[in-house]
Every structure is written in structure tokens, then in C-alpha cells.
């Protein structure tokens, strides 16, 4: 299953980004084999309503879970309606670290 991590860079060693809608990159990791793909968030510098727009990117890419620091109310509503699970990671470590914690099931599920 595909898990989305919000990141400041393009690789698994990139630092995680606390914000969801304005995260520069979404790193989608396949939990079966650890492979990943990076999507540049087209709404990172958007004027407004970026949360729901970014959530649509996750839906279009068949993401099943999101790991991020802070997900706004509107984005949460969209993600919840789409059945995407949300987990909170605020340690400011790398995507790899966040993925490790996700697989060890130590992250708090927010919604």
C-alpha cells in the first residue's frame, strides 16, 4: 500500500515537512517493497484552499495513508471522506525515519 510522507526534499533522506497543504514534496513509499516515488506539490505556493487541492493529489495517486505534522481542517475532511488514514509525525527527522516509525506502528493516528 502507498503511504504519503510530506517532505522538504525529493529523497528518503530528505527532512520531513510539518505542513501538509504547503509541503514542497510528497514522497509516496510502497510499504510492500520500500520503493518510492516523489511528487512535487503543485499547490505549495498557492493562494488559498491548498489543503483540499493537495488532498486530491493523494486521492489521484491511490494513497492509503498520510504521515505529516499538521493537517488542516478542510484537508482532513477530504482525506477522511476518501478513506485515507492520517498519522502524526513531528520529530523533524528524515522520511526514512518517519517510515521506520510507521512500520513499527509507533506513530499516533490522528484520524
Amino acid at each position: 500500500m502507498k503511504i504519503c510522507f510530506t517532505a522538504k526534499g525529493t529523497t528518503l533522506d530528505a527532512q520531513t515537512e510539518e505542513r501538509f497543504g504547503r509541503a514542497p514534496y510528497f514522497i509516496l513509499v510502497d510499504s510492500e517493497n520500500g520503493s518510492f516515488e516523489t511528487i512535487q506539490n503543485p499547490f505549495a505556493d498557492g493562494g488559498g484552499g491548498v489543503g483540499p487541492k493537495a488532498a486530491q493529489v493523494l486521492i489521484a495517486n491511490n494513497v492509503k495513508a498520510l504521515v505529516s505534522g499538521q493537517v488542516g481542517g478542510n484537508a482532513q475532511e477530504v482525506l477522511a471522506a476518501a478513506g485515507i488514514a492520517m498519522y502524526t509525525y513531528r520529530a523533524a527527522g528524515s522520511v526514512r525515519d518517519a517510515f521506520d516509525q510507521f512500520t513499527k506502528n509507533t506513530l499516533e493516528r490522528s484520524v
Binding site: 493562494g47 488559498g48 484552499g49 483540499p52 486530491q56 486521492i59 475532511e77 477530504v78 471522506a81 476518501a82
Partner: protein, 283 residues
């Protein structure tokens, strides 16, 4: 004659100038005073009177889920993220919607129609002969002030003399209030903050092509920097109101300087004459 009263900085005395100017002019002419500071209207405090209320609405989309094929075109079109199309339902966030109507146009199945949504109110009163007061009030929690300001201005569109009290700052609500005005009074105070924000406001009115003049309020006599700025930018200081305990006390009681101290009426008449000259309106 449409005359806007604006300022960069808040609390410089826009409403004080607007209320006294309207009061003075209404003793000889028909005047409409429009409170365009819809997030915090206050002119009604100076002119208590029974008012007629109307609602301000904006059109928002309603999706008919039985006709909708969930193709996603409306969600892709919406630049504000107000519509999200899922596989079996559409989510709508009314506070993000800018009422552009684009979703309705791009829907290939005619599944979207618009319905009015209330965002604020207008109140209209006649507090004294010759004076009509129109106040716009944005509902708490509603994010778009501009449609309420537009509706308030529309009510005064045919009136001969209109004085518009704008919100402070230089953002969209101020630009909306200034749009189409013949002249603008910028009220400032002789503080560094007052001057800094005056500079921003001068830039806005210049870009809108509206002739502007300055009123210095609460002057403590140390206006040199403000005066220098005005000279450098070819702005006339049309009136200077002193820093005075008495004026502050009148204002704090909700009274009007020109009613309590009628000798001030000639100063406000002179101010209006200068505004007419600014606007190029012939007597």
C-alpha cells in the same frame, strides 16, 4: 461626488472625519454616508436611528448528486479548493468559494446550480434630515468582505453626494471601497507608524488613479516628517486637527465635534471644498 475616507493605519480618525463631514454637509445638502468598514462598522454609533435591514448573499454551487457523474471537472477547475470530487460524492467548502460560477459552466452534466448564501447585512437609516446612513456588516466567520462592500455601494450608486468610510489598511476591502471614487481623504497621525502606513495608502490611491489629499489628526505640532512626505509627493494637507482632550472626550461619548462645537463646521465645509477641487468638480 463620491468621496472616500481612507488611511493606512487604523485608529487615525477616518470615522471621526467621515461622520463630522457628513453631519456638516447634511445641514445644507443631501448626503449619503456609507460605512464600508464591514468587519467593524462604527458610524451607526454616532447616528443612532431605527434602521431597515436587508441581507447580503453570494451565489454558491449546489451539486445534484443524482445527476453528477463524479467526473471531477469542477474540482479541477476550482482554483480555491472549494470543491473536491470523490468517487461517489462531492465535498464543498463554502468558506473557500469565491462565487465565480466556473464550476457550473464546466460541468458537462448540468448537475450544478447556484443558491444564495447569506454573508452579511446592510442597514439603511435616516438619522437626521438630509443624511442617509448605509452600513454594511459582514457576518462573523464569513471570510469575504468585498461582496458586502459592493452591495453597500450599490445602494448609494444614484445618490449625488456619497461619503465612503473605508476599512483601515490597503487590502481588497479598501480597494473595493475606493474603486470608482472621485477623490480620497487620507487621514493620518504624526507618528512613525502613521507615516509608514500613509505611504502605503498613497501608493494604492495613486495606482487606482484617485486624487488624494491629507488630513492630519491628533496633531501634537510635531508633523515635520509627515509634512515633508506630503510636499515630496505633491499631496495637499487639507486640514490639521489638534491633539485635544476635549475632542477626544466628545468622540468617546459618541458625540460629534461639529454638533458640540459648531464652529468646526466651517473647517469641514472648507475640507469638502478642497475635496471638490481635488476631484475637479465645478461648483
Amino acid at each position: 461626488m463620491k468621496l472616500a475616507i481612507a488611511s493606512g493605519k487604523g485608529g487615525t480618525g477616518k470615522s471621526m472625519v467621515a461622520a463630522n463631514l457628513a453631519f456638516t454637509l447634511s445641514t445644507t445638502d443631501k448626503v449619503t454616508l456609507v460605512d464600508c468598514d464591514v468587519e467593524e462598522p462604527n458610524l451607526h454609533l454616532f447616528f443612532p436611528a431605527p434602521a431597515m435591514m436587508t441581507e447580503v448573499t453570494v451565489p454558491v454551487p449546489v451539486v445534484d448528486e443524482t445527476t453528477c457523474q463524479h467526473c471531477g471537472k469542477c474540482g479541477e477547475f476550482c482554483q480555491y479548493g472549494a470543491l473536491t470530487v470523490l468517487s461517489k460524492r462531492v465535498l464543498f467548502f463554502p468558506e473557500l468559494c469565491h462565487s465565480c460560477g466556473g464550476c457550473m459552466l464546466v460541468c458537462p452534466n448540468d448537475a450544478i446550480h447556484e443558491e444564495p448564501k447569506r454573508i452579511g447585512t446592510l442597514s439603511i437609516s435616516m438619522p437626521q434630515p438630509g443624511l442617509k446612513l448605509i452600513s454594511g456588516t459582514l457576518d462573523t466567520g464569513s471570510p469575504h468582505a468585498v461582496p458586502v462592500i459592493r452591495a453597500a455601494k450599490k445602494l448609494a450608486a444614484q445618490d449625488p453626494v456619497v461619503i465612503l468610510d473605508t476599512a483601515p489598511g490597503t487590502s481588497c476591502p479598501v480597494v473595493e471601497a475606493l474603486d470608482g471614487c472621485d477623490a480620497c481623504i487620507l487621514v493620518t497621525e504624526s507618528t512613525p507608524f502613521g507615516l509608514h502606513d500613509l505611504q502605503l495608502a498613497v501608493d494604492v490611491v495613486a495606482r487606482l488613479g484617485i486624487p488624494a489629499g491629507i488630513v492630519i489628526n491628533r496633531s501634537d505640532g510635531k508633523d515635520a516628517e509627515t509634512l515633508r512626505f506630503c510636499t515630496d509627493h505633491d499631496l495637499e494637507v487639507m486640514m490639521t486637527i489638534p491633539f485635544s482632550c476635549e475632542i477626544a472626550a466628545i468622540q468617546s461619548r459618541g458625540d460629534l465635534l461639529c454638533r458640540e462645537r459648531p464652529e468646526w463646521q466651517k473647517d469641514f465645509c472648507a475640507l469638502y471644498a478642497k475635496c471638490r477641487a481635488l476631484a475637479g468638480v465645478d461648483e
